[in-house]
Amino acid sequence: MMRAAGWLALGVLVAAPLLIVLAMGFGTATSGVPPVIPPWGAGGWQGSLEAWGLVLSDSFYRDALWQSLRLAFITGALCLVLGFGMALGIAAAPPARQFIWLALVLLPFWTGFLLRVSAWVGLLRDSGWVNTMLMQAGLIETPLRMLHTEGAMILGMVHAYLPFAVLPLYASLARRDLTLEEAAADLGAGRWRVLFTITLPLAAPALAAAFLLVFIPAAGEVVIPELLGGPEALLVGRAIWQEFFQTLDWPAAAALATALLALLLLPVAAFQRLAAR
């Protein structure tokens, strides 16, 4: 009964939307409501590969995909480094205090996502907090351009996705066998050597999970590049958004979304192979 309900939810909420998007990619754009002719109609197959041809050949979309993967990778890597340090620190704290630290990591989730991103706008814009403070302190004379730069975008991404990296890393590090690290130290390994030969390799599955939990949603992120990134940040999330809501080219949007999904399945498959070993 439970299982049937689970499969039903999976089918309705995951499989069906996916199949609709997949099918839409083979449809034809039109000026109607909805603005797409489905690939199957009364007369059988009536779809086209036009949208796919566009998405795969036009360098605009290729760049968008590439830029998105690059941003997601940078975000994932930074979240891993910062998250690993945080998780290590939390796991080393006295148990009563670990709970407090974890609650603080999750605290940002208590406010809305949009609100948090907007807060960065307020901090970083030319007349924002940071610039005002720096100018009043006499450190700079003209405001630094921080908002709408790649740095601001990455900052916002890392800030938004860091908890997703901290949690799996903490779960793994808190359960680890500390005698292994003592044994390594006893055999002559210094702190960093212990970290690189014992702690990190044994945390590899958690590191991979943490990376994917950040990388996958980050690759499709729309809001943060839109609000914090520069106009040159033409990411795939933005491109899908534009095709869908502005150009009303639903087949192109669907084909692009499907291509992104296919690209993201690669690291997941790699992770599965790693975990199976």
């Binding site: 066998d177 005698t179 292994l180 003592e182 044994a183 390594a184 130290a185 006893d186 055999l187 002559g188 390994a189 210094g190 050597r193 030969t197 014992i198 390799p201 044994l202």
Partner: protein, 325 residues
């Protein structure tokens, strides 16, 4: 050394001297401080007071990796992501040894600990006894001056424990390193160690050879811990005649014999309460006048009395080991 954890004193101004090439067992119940002492010597913990010297050098402030001490953990703490050879080589790598030297030393240890053919296995693919030998090989690899062993036999099956213990002692003699072993098993401590330090509440109750510890326990507590000695109070219900005056005496159960009649001193009449045949010997529990319960061990072949029977018991004056407290 002294080590406190909050209000609890784990080690109370304890002092211990281990000779070069000596095999010392730290024997004690849980909470006696034996594991704390081992962790202090390995460098995982710092004493609140006191110093640790190794071969004349003060190592109190050194981190574990800078001490010429190797520890074998109770759980073995083998690195699960490395094979046997890599585990053994871990300490050699850290010492900056060349690849060829490392390979030679690993081969030597593999032969010494009978690990041939297992070099490429992961720890999870080994039996308990094999894991124990890998842990030992890894600890011995750098030829440390001092090897610390935390309950080295506790995780093994009973059948494997005795033989492995003897192998451990043979290995200690061959390597010439000092071994300090923590154990709660008195038979293990007495069988393997050159000297046994009996720890009690963070202090050394007695530090002596196994034979001396067994035959001449210093205190009532030692006599009681070392198993089953009878403790006779001077001026108690049974009149004693000992060579030295002491407040109490320990009397080993096997030193008590059945006599035709009870002697006036160093003997008593008693009623047999329980008889337990144990193979190599028979254990009697006998109640003497004044409520004193005596444990008596009769070697096999002697006719054992029946429960309820009255017997006369006697012992030599030399069998009474004086206790100081």
């Amino acid at each position: 050394m002294t080590r406190r954890f909050g209000a609890a004193v784990a080690l109370d101004a304890l002092s211990l001297d281990v000779g070069a090439g000596e095999f010392v067992a730290l024997l004690g119940g849980s909470g006696s401080g034996k594991s704390t002492l081992l962790r202090l010597v390995a460098g995982f913990d710092r004493p609140d007071a006191g110093r640790i010297h190794l071969e004349g050098k003060d190592i109190t402030a050194l981190p574990p990796q800078a001490r010429d001490v190797a520890m074998m953990f109770q759980s073995y703490a083998l690195f699960p992501h490395m094979d046997v050879a890599t585990n053994i080589a871990y300490g050699l790598r850290r010492a900056g040894m060349g690849a060829r030297e490392i390979a030679a030393r690993v081969a030597e240890l593999v032969a010494l600990l009978r690990l041939e053919g297992l070099q490429r296995r992961r720890p999870s693919q080994l039996s308990g006894g094999q894991q124990q030998r890998v842990a030992l090989a890894r600890a011995l690899a750098r030829r440390p001056a001092l090897v610390l062993l935390d309950e080295p036999l506790a995780a093994l099956d009973a059948g494997l424990r005795e033989r492995t213990g003897l192998e451990l002692r043979a290995l200690q003699r061959r390597t010439g390193a000092s071994f300090v072993m923590v154990t709660h098993d008195q038979a293990e401590a007495l069988a393997l160690a050159d000297r046994v330090a009996l720890l009690e509440a963070g202090r050394i109750a007695q530090f002596d050879t196994p034979r001396a510890l067994y035959e001449r326990p210093a205190t009532r507590a030692v006599a009681r811990f070392l198993g089953a000695a009878n403790i006779l109070e001077a001026g108690g219900p049974v009149p004693l005649d000992a060579a030295t005056r002491a407040p109490a005496y320990a009397l080993r159960p096997e030193r008590i014999a059945l006599r035709p009649t009870a002697p006036a001193r160093n003997g008593t009449e008693a009623v047999v309460e329980e008889v337990a045949f144990r193979g190599a010997d028979t254990l009697l529990l006998a109640r003497a006048p004044g409520g004193l319960s005596l444990r008596v061990v009769l070697v096999a072949g002697q006719a054992a009395p029946e429960p309820g029977q009255r017997v006369a018991l006697g012992w030599e004056a030399s069998a009474l080991a004086p206790l100081s407290a």
